[in-house]
Each structure stands twice: as C-alpha cells, then as structure tokens.
Amino acid sequence: MTGSPTRRSSSVLGALAVLVVSLTAGAASSGAHPCCGGSSQWLHQHRLQYKTILNTIDTSRLRDAASEARQAWRDRTILGLKLVTTHENARIHGRDGNYGNVPWVGLAETCFHCGHRDFFLNKYYNQTDSEWKGTSCQEMGHIIGLDHKPGDCMGKGYFSDYSNHVGSTSVDHIRTYYRNPPDGSATHIQLGTSSDKESDAWDLLSG
C-alpha cells in the first residue's frame, strides 16, 4: 500500500503484460481445438445462437421447406436459430440454384470454428416439399455439428431408416456435445445471458 508511484506503475505494467501473454496464448490455442480426433462428426462453433438467413433462397417452396427445417432444429434442440434478413452476423446461409446433375441435391460446408457456412439446395432435382424439408434439415444439421446417422433427416440418402424430421437422437447429441465436447475438453462455448431463443445472447443454462 505504501510503494512509490514508479513501483506501482511497474506493478500495473507487469500485471498487464501477464494478461497480454495469457490472452495471446488463449487466442492462439482457440484455433487448434483437438475435438474428436479429427472426425467431422462434431463441429461446434462456440455459440448456441446460429443466426440463419434464408431469404437468399429464391424459390419460395424451397425457402418454406428450409424455414420449416430451421424451426424444427430451433424448437427441438437447445440451439437458437434466429431468423435474420440481412447477411450481417448470419452464421447459416441458405442458397438454392440449378447446379445440374452433380449428383447432390443438398450440400453443406462444415468446418471447425467457422464464422459462417453456406448450404445449397440443388433444384435441378425434383423433390416433394417434405423431401426438401428433409434435405434442408440434414444440411443445417451438418452445419451445427452432426454427421450422417440413421433415424431422422441425418440419415437421408445414407440409411434406409430415415425421416425428413429432427429426431430424438440428434436432439440428445446436440444437448450432450454442446455441454460436454466428446473429446473430454472443457465446455468453452460462449454463454449468453438470456432465456429468449430469439435473443443474440441465448443461454445454454436455460436450455
């Protein structure tokens, strides 16, 4: 309490330096998450709120189907998929187009810790509204961290046991993995402060 002004300044500088080093190390390590041994099954992005933009889907019935899929993920899981109408801060971008017989009907970009990801619906192929919902459901499921598996929309095109909906296994996986990363590392998602899923600060603890 009685140190000289110079000594106090030096102490402040020292503490700040330690803080800088600490934060620098944290920032550097956040890009090298060891989760899941390189598997793409779990690709969480540190957030529970995935703002979603779908007005970039030009075809109304495809947009409606994608909107139903978004609502299903939002209502059934702990995640918030708030619908937004501008690109700013949107984390999931829906797209559609005629990409030809490529031969995929839906395509999703996935990666660790990405800022935002696109999914594409290929309207070269004819599908029912329900099938478009299932395709959208699977592509959004990939972006929020899930792999192909039987039982719901994540099995479409891969397993005979599939549906066009969000199933209970996917709901359980999301709840478990977002709270407890499967590699055993500590939860490091960013917690919000709200119980409102439409809020930017949607909170895990209320989920």
């Binding site: 030096s10 793409s40 030009d58 187009g97 990409y99 990666c111 800022g115 990939h142």
Partner: protein, 196 residues
C-alpha cells in the same frame, strides 16, 4: 511517469483487442481465431440406387478407366444468380480418364468427369482422385457442362486395387460388387446393362 501511463494505455488497448479477438466468432469466412478455416463438404445425394440394375438404368455408360489427370474445373454457380455479389461458388475438378474398356454404352478414348470439390475441400464420400488410380465407373453426361460426365449416384464410382473392387460408399452396390474381382464385377455390370 507520463511515458509509463502511455505504455500502460497501449497495453490496455492491446488487451481489449485480444479480448475481442477471442470472443468474435462471427467474422465472416474465418475461424474464431482469425486464421483461415479448413472446410469440408457434406452432401445429401439425389439418388441412391437400391440395386445394380437401378444404377445401370440411370447410367448410359460403364467403363473401366485410369486417372490420367486432375485439373481445377469451372465453379458451380446457380445459373439464375450469376452476378450476385455475395453468391458463393462451389469448387469443382475435372478428372481426366484414359478409358481402358467400355462395358456398355459409348465413350471417347479419353473422357472427363466433373467432380464437386477441390484438392483441399471435398465431399466425404467422394474423396480426391489420384493420377494412376483405376476405377469402374457408371456414368451419365453432365447437364451443366456438356461433354463432361458425372456418376448418377456416388455408388457409380468404384476403385479397383490389385484387381479387387473397392466401393467408396456403403449401400446395396457395395454389397453387390465390393470385394469382387474386377472381371467378376464387369461381368455382373454387363448383365444388367440397359438396352442400347
């Protein structure tokens, strides 16, 4: 003393900036750490055949061929959206094959396959081709890039290693042809070939 406070101020600003760097996960196109992120592609396939016959009925051409070259292709862009400033494109590759044998249909001596993805980013069930690899391919012509070919389903691409067929995706076709000799698989494919 003033210099010390200035230095402390600069350090504090740096701390704030680093804190923002840690918390900002919404910077477009980058990872949370600000470094380029490695992406992969996941697909919902438009068509998964229940039988080899169904696959052949949707593939007017079947060949055995060797990869002669892998080249970057024209990116896929929604035809009606050309010119949209924010429209992302989907990378493709052109896979050049030397055709060894035509099982049915007609094909040039060298054909080019259109593949979604790049050398760095690809669909999980459709990994990059390597020059020198041999394949059994059931193909149809591309609608978006005439003159090029695509498999009508991922099941239409089967690697041949040491004379044994190795499908790349599980399903009825893999169950039918996986582990078979190349000759045996070719005979089976020829038997289900569609009328020419």
């Amino acid at each position: 003393m003033i210099r010390l406070f200035s230095l402390a101020g600069a350090l504090a600003a740096l701390v704030v900036w680093l804190g923002l760097l840690q918390s900002d996960g919404e910077s477009a196109g980058a990872s949370d750490s600000g470094s380029p992120a490695v992406a992969s592609l996941r697909a919902t396939w438009a068509f998964r055949p229940d039988s080899l016959k169904e696959l052949a009925d949707n593939a007017p051409l079947a060949v055995t061929a060797t990869v002669a070259g892998v080249e970057p292709g024209e990116p896929l862009i929604a035809s009606e959206d050309v010119g949209e400033p924010d429209e992302p494109s989907i990378p493709t590759q052109r896979i050049v094959f030397d055709v060894e044998e035509i099982l049915y249909g007609s094909a040039p001596a060298q054909l080019v396959l259109l593949k979604t993805g790049s050398a760095d980013t690809w669909i999980d069930d459709d990994p990059p081709y390597q020059v020198g690899e041999r394949y059994l391919l059931l193909l149809t012509e591309s609608t978006s890039q005439p003159g090029l070919y695509v498999p009508p389903a991922p099941d239409g691409r089967m690697l041949v290693v040491d004379g044994v067929v190795q499908p790349l995706i599980a399903g009825p076709i893999a169950e039918t042809l996986g582990g078979r000799t190349e000759e045996g698989a070719e005979n089976t494919i020829t038997q289900v070939s569609p009328p020419q």
